[in-house]
Structure formats: C-alpha cells, structure tokens
C-alpha cells in the first residue's frame, strides 16, 4: 500500500482531472439537450445516462475493451501518440470521468433549462451571435447549475470504485484512490485504523467541496435576486 497522503493526493488529482475534463463536453451536451430539438435526441439521452444505470463493473469492462492496451482506441492511442490509459492514473481519471459525466450533464442541463429564454432573446436583439448569447447570458445565468454539477461530479469521481478496479486495477501509487485504498486496508489484518483515517479524509474532502459550492451558490443568488 502507498502512504495515506499519497492516496489522498492521487484521489484529488484523479477526481479533479476527471471533473475538469468533463466540464466543457458536459456543458456542450447539456446545452444541446436543453435547447435543441433534433433527430436522435432520445438516443443521445440514453447513451449519456448509460454509465449512471450500468453496474460500474460493466462500465469498467467496456472501458477495458475500448481503451485497454489491445482495445480499439487504446491500441491506436498507444501507437500513434504513445499514450496509455491502462494501469495508469489517467485511466483511473477516465473511469471516474465517464461515471461522473451523466450526473454533471443532468445538473447543468437543469441549470440551462432554468435560464429564461427572454434573456437570450434580449441579447440577440442587441446583436449577439448565438455563441455570444451562450457565453454572456446562458452560461453565467446557469452558473449555479454548472457549479452544482461539477461538485456532484467531483464527489462521484472521488468515490468511483467498480469501473476503476475493473479497468486499471488497484495499483498503489498509480490507480489506488481513496475508495480502493479503503478496500485494500480492510482486506488486511489490522488495517482498520488505516481504513478509518482514509474514510475521514473522504468525509473531509466532501464536506469542504459541499461548503465551497454552497457559499458560491449563495453569493450568486444574492447578486441575481
């Protein structure tokens, strides 16, 4: 087992990278789902939410098939760019990101749906192109939903277990995040104290994240009230 601080640090890194990498695609997908009517919308909706309802082990297995060293995408990435997901922390971040993605999209989509379209119309009559409407009106007004989505996504990524262990195994210092660390400690005789300390770290991180988002949301609400 790696040192406890190493585990905490790795978990923060994996969850942060996963959440950050999800942010822009999640905003794009959420905007499309909230504001556009198109053929195949329901299918896209099902695809986005699949990781939320699939057993995480199945998600991990599919990731292994696609992004493993002999996977369709994984083999190409390895040959073309020399980049590997398997048994690396980047793979843990991918697994965490994929499972967190639906939750992030849901929250941002709700945030965008709550933005009164009247404001978007105003910006258009003032000469704003659709992209500017999105950047200056829709996203700023949907910010509480975006922040909430990122916090929920971060929490989900921090707690990811099944997909991670299936896809990139449980390698100390590389893919052993908090959840996997606690699991490993509990398997060991006398590991209870370590498990408890890691659990406390999890609680502390979650509480800080929740408080931070609550404070941000409150200051936004005060301004827009």
């Amino acid at each position: 087992m790696a040192s406890e601080l190493e585990i905490v640090w790795l978990s923060l890194k994996v969850a942060s990278v996963a959440t950050a990498a999800c942010a822009i695609p999640a905003i794009a997908v959420a905007w499309v789902m909230a504001r556009r009517v198109f053929w195949g919308r329901s299918l896209l909706n099902v695809l986005i939410h699949l990781p939320l309802v699939l057993p995480p082990v199945v998600t991990g297995y599919f990731l292994l098939l696609a992004f493993g060293r002999r996977g369709v995408v994984g083999a190409w990435l390895d040959q073309a760019l020399g980049f590997q997901f398997s048994f690396r922390w980047t793979g843990a971040a991918l697994a965490a990101g994929v499972t967190a993605f639906p939750l992030i999209v849901r929250s941002i989509q709700l945030g965008i749906e709550n933005v009164d379209r009247q404001y978007e119309e105003v910006a258009a009559t003032l000469g704003a192109r659709p992209l500017w409407v999105l950047l200056t009106v829709t996203l700023p007004l949907a910010l509480p939903g975006i922040l909430a989505g990122l916090v929920i996504g971060f929490a989900k990524a921090l707690g990811e277990f099944g997909a991670t262990i299936t896809f990139v195994s449980n390698i100390p210092g590389e893919t052993q995040t908090l959840a996997l660390g606690i699991f490993t400690a509990l398997e060991r005789p006398g590991g209870d104290a370590v498990a408890m300390r890691l659990a406390m770290f999890s609680v502390a991180i979650s509480v800080v994240a929740l408080f931070a988002s609550e404070l941000l949301a409150r200051s936004l609400k005060r301004r827009n009230a």
Binding site: Q118, Y119, E121, V122, A123, A124, T125, L126, G127, A128, R129, P130, W132, V133, T136, V137, P140, L141, R223, N224, A225
Partner: protein, 224 residues
C-alpha cells in the same frame, strides 16, 4: 427612412395579417390584447418566424420568406424594449447599457453612453444591479440599452405595462425627448390610445381580437 412590414401568420386562434408602412417618428400600433401586437413585433425583430413575411427597412431586406430570406435577429439592428424590462440580472446597469456596443465593437456612430445616460437620467444607477431598481428605473435602462445598440428601428411593446402609475410619468417625458433628439422610426405597441395621445406621429389600429386581423389601414395624424 421607411419601414415596410407585410406579415401573415397563424398560431392557435390568432390569425395575423398585417401590411403597414412606417415612417420616421413614433407610430402607435393600437389593438386589444390578443390581437397579435407582440407577435408582430417579435416577427419584425426576427424572434418569431412567420408563414409569410416581407420586411424592409429602407432598401435593406430583412425578410422575404418567399425568396428564402430571413436575416437572424442579431443582424437586424432593431432595438426592442419588451413589456418587462428584461435586464440581465447578472450584469450591472452600466454593463446592461453597453452590451449592444460590446457585441458590435466595430460599429460606429449612434449616441454615446453619456448621451443616453443624460437623456434617460441614468447616471446614478450605473453601478447598481437590476434587482436594486424600481420598475420605472428598469424600463428606462431597458430603453437606454436598446438606444445604445444604435438601432435603425425601435420597437416598444407596451413599455409602461409593467410600470406603476406613479412611475409612468417618469418615462413618458423621455419618450418625447427621444422623438425630438433621435430621428429614428419607432413602433409603439399599446392597447389604449390614451397612453400615446399627442405623442404618436402615426396611428395604426389592429382589429378585433380573435378574428382575422388586418391593418392595411395606414393613416397619419399630425402630432400636437
């Protein structure tokens, strides 16, 4: 500059058939609620796409649905003051005012922020957020915001509807000044002619509520 609007549109029970020509100055578009006045303004602004429309400002064709021409709202240069002020709640008064300018940084001419602030008495509101303004103040900011975007046509949709009686008298004089200082064609939608009596250069009446609406009547009244 003259504005030509020929629109045919049906949504639900509303059937809108309008053919009007509007010159410089304030044109009052009067009709009972439900007669499609707001819909007509939305069509002119480019926010609603009707079955049929030919819209021209001067020589510029903004819409000719038969020819497949439909200039999107953001390229029409039409200022729109909605019934509710619709100030962006996350921006200060000043940021709301200069928004149109900011979207069109290369557009020159038109009134300056100082001009508009003076005209509408907005100097002291600049750094406030919309949530800290009264109804009358909000509507003045909305009017200023539309003017600062340097439009070639101004649309006003019952701008006094959301303003209480006490504050109406705060806005009407500004409309008079606006007519005097800016030779800009403006369409003012209202359900009572009283609101604009003595202020409109032209009056166009939209007919009965549920029935088919046509306003090809175009008559002029000398302003007092």
């Amino acid at each position: 500059m003259s504005v030509n609007v020929n629109v045919r549109h049906a949504v639900g029970r509303l059937r809108l058939e309008v053919d009007i020509r509007v010159g410089n100055g304030l044109t009052a578009l009067v009709g009972p609620s439900g007669s499609g006045k707001t819909t007509l303004l939305n069509v002119i602004a480019g926010l609603v796409r009707p079955e049929h429309a030919v819209i021209r400002i001067g020589d510029e064709v903004l819409a000719d649905t038969a020819a497949g021409i439909w200039v999107p709202a953001h390229r029409r240069r039409i200022g729109y003051v909605f019934q509710e002020p619709r100030l962006l709640p996350h921006l200060t008064v000043r940021q709301n005012l200069v928004l149109g300018r900011w979207f069109h940084r290369n557009r020159t001419g038109g009134p300056s922020l100082d001009d508009v602030s003076r005209l509408l008495n907005l100097d002291e509101l600049q750094h406030r957020y919309p949530s800290r303004l009264s109804g009358g103040e909000k509507q003045r900011v909305a009017l200023g915001r539309a003017l600062l975007a340097h439009p070639q046509l101004l649309l006003l949709d019952e701008p006094l509807a959301a303003v209480d009686q006490r504050h109406r008298s705060e806005i009407l004089p500004f409309l008079d000044r606006l007519r005097r200082d800016h030779s800009l064609p403006a369409i003012y939608v209202t359900h009572t002619l009283n609101e604009v009596s003595g202020r409109a250069d032209h009056v166009v009446e939209l007919g009965d509520a549920s029935a088919s609406v046509s306003a090809d009547a175009y008559f002029s009244r000398s302003s007092t």
